[in-house]
């Protein structure tokens, strides 16, 4: 499969020079299509000091179809669904915006960037988005608390 070759290549590149605050591992060494990603909360964000576990799932049609990113660690964020899926809304991952030339490294960087700068206008959690816009202090507080509760390992 062509996709495997590309994925292996991207994985190798990521392993060699991972973007800041991001660690990537295969969930299962025999399966290139599911990655475990550990993402440190960006500094100066309420997610700071947290380490978030994400799953990056690649379709077999990759790179023609976009990967999906989901948070395994609970996170209080307007762009991440607050359910057991933890799906993340990434514009570039939408089927019609995805470009095969996009790289996973960029996807992950984007995801991390989204932690630093949520996009409330593009939210999947409307309530959090509203809070983010209307009562930022409260949002920060909750997000920090959740981070402490779920994303910081003792």
């Amino acid at each position: 499969m062509g996709s495997q070759k590309r994925i292996a290549k991207e994985l190798a590149e990521l392993a060699e020079s991972a973007p800041e605050g991001i660690t990537v591992k295969l969930a299962d060494e025999s399966n290139l299509y599911i990655w475990n990603v550990y993402m440190e909360g960006p500094e100066n964000s309420p997610y700071q000091n947290g380490t978030f576990h994400l799953t990056l799932t690649l379709p077999t049609e990759y790179p023609f179809k976009p990967p999906t990113v989901s948070f395994r660690t609970k996170i209080y964020h307007p762009n991440v669904t607050n359910d057991d899926k933890g799906s993340m809304c990434l514009g570039m991952l939408r089927a019609d915006e995805w470009k095969p030339s996009s790289r996973l490294a960029a996807v992950l960087q984007f995801a991390r960037q989204l932690l630093a700068e949520p996009m409330p206008d593009d939210a999947v959690e409307g309530r959090i988005a509203e809070q983010f816009k209307g009562d930022f202090a409260r949002y920060e507080e909750v997000a920090r608390e959740w981070t402490r509760k779920y994303a910081v390992r003792g």
Binding site: R6, F64, L90, M92, K99, A106, D122
Partner: protein, 602 residues
Amino acid sequence: MSSVSVSASASPSSNLLPSSPSPLPSSDSRLRPLRRLSQLRAYTQLHFSSPPQQPQQQQQPSVASSSSSSTNSQRVSRRHTLGSRVSWFSAASTGPDSSTSTVGTTTRAPCPESEYQSTFARYSSVFSPSYRGLELDLRSQPSPTESSNPPLRNETATATGNQTQEIMARPRGSSQAVEARPNGEVSSAGNILESPDPVVSESPCTSSPRPKQKATIRFFPHQDSHASSRPSLPFIPISRTLPSDSCVIRVGRYSERDGTPVANPTEPSDAPVGFKSKVVSRKHCEFMYLNGQWHVKDVGSSSGTFLNHMRLSQPNIASRLYTIKDGDIVQLGIDFRGGEEMIFRCVRIRIECNRSWQQQPNEFNKNTENLIKNLGKGDAADYSGCRECSICLGSVLRPYQCLFMAACAHVWHYKCVSRLIHTPDYPMFQCPNCRAYTDLSAEVDDTNDFEEQEESKSASAEDKPDALEPARSETHTPQPDPNAITQPSRSSGDERHPETRLPVEAGLAANIENMRLQDLDASDDNSSQPRAPTSNPDSVPSNANNEVPGWQSLTQSPSSAQTRPAQLRAETPVRSESSDENPLTPLNDSGPLALDGRAAMP
């Protein structure tokens, strides 16, 4: 969101750039006029439709002289914007900015006039009516026609940049984009329509004697991929090149009375465009080209014209003009009765306009041409890691591997990209890198003879430095026309047969070889452009000063230009013993080789 896509797209493409410093400079000098014209086009085009070029242009002044802050911000925002949408843009923009332009500037560093020059260059259009006409014709940017304009211009540009950025952040008419758009539109269109914009006031007087590039627009069927709606009316891609700027393309319901609509006339035409759908009014909307920009206007349709989901007017009421840009979606009417029957489906048109910069020589396809030239030569060193297939991330410089090059000069392994070619949408092909649509079934354009003539002509002219000036102005005048005519079809031809297009590509690319210089030197060119007609005493020395060294050092003189292909020829047989090169090398090199052969002929 855009930031990421920027990096996403920039990473592969920016790799390409380092290879740019080693262009084949050979054809530089000879193709000067041609190149210049295209550069001009690229520059003017990019001014509006493709910001990156502008940053380059703007950098000139900022390096050399002054006006920096707004320039910088603008630059950032623009690059941002662009990258998020058109990946190779970032290539084009980051490359010249970061590496190439420095090369260029340093090369010309000894020239004390650089400051004067660049400033001069920016406003040089004033000096040359014909040139300015060209610019206006091509471009939409409020062009600074007086040197007192710079701040204004920068602001406008920045504003445009921001606006585009907003829009482009969500390219496909999400609600956000829709919101952003009307606002931006209003202001920009407002400028054009109401304010005594310099462009508006200038165009009448400049429009007469110009060598001009004709305005081209293409309509592609668009399917709203994330809408739950039914597919829109299918139609064959339609291309129109306006015979004159005052022409209007009328769009309405197809009617037997009008006869068979001509989908893609090879000649310039303003033939009306008809769609076989009941939801399209007989007179539905019109496309027109004003002040270097395409506009759409609802002419009182009953079911509406939508620009990126925004309805332009109430039923049966004509709208004002709205500027459209490349990639915009224009929808005619709304599905009726659920659109179950084909005849009740709305028409969704993806606009392609202002793309000629892409079909013209530019930094990127220059690089590609270089790459192609070195294909199979084992000289992967220059390109290793630079030219990769964006699908498999492997190098395209592998022997024994079929490649596919789109009209936008992006290259992939055929094997990798084939599933994007053979889709239900075939013959429409969308570049996975830059999203440019191409029609793979378009006729091959074989009218490139002119260009080659042009090349040889200019080549011979450039052999004699004295003849340079006249040659430039001579070649300049006839140049645009054929180009304008051939251009649309050429591009389509390219798409269809990658192989056939190689010569053209090579020719193009040969022109392009100078683009690097030229991009940086857009100002020089601008300034030198007027020089011939006006013979402005000031500009002459400065131009001579900067051009000659600049050129000579970065490029090769005609004589060396000839030696280079000779080397190539010499090399070819040796290498081609490996036989896989035979089919490739001659073809790929045919541009420069042909060029040289011709030039060598009496």
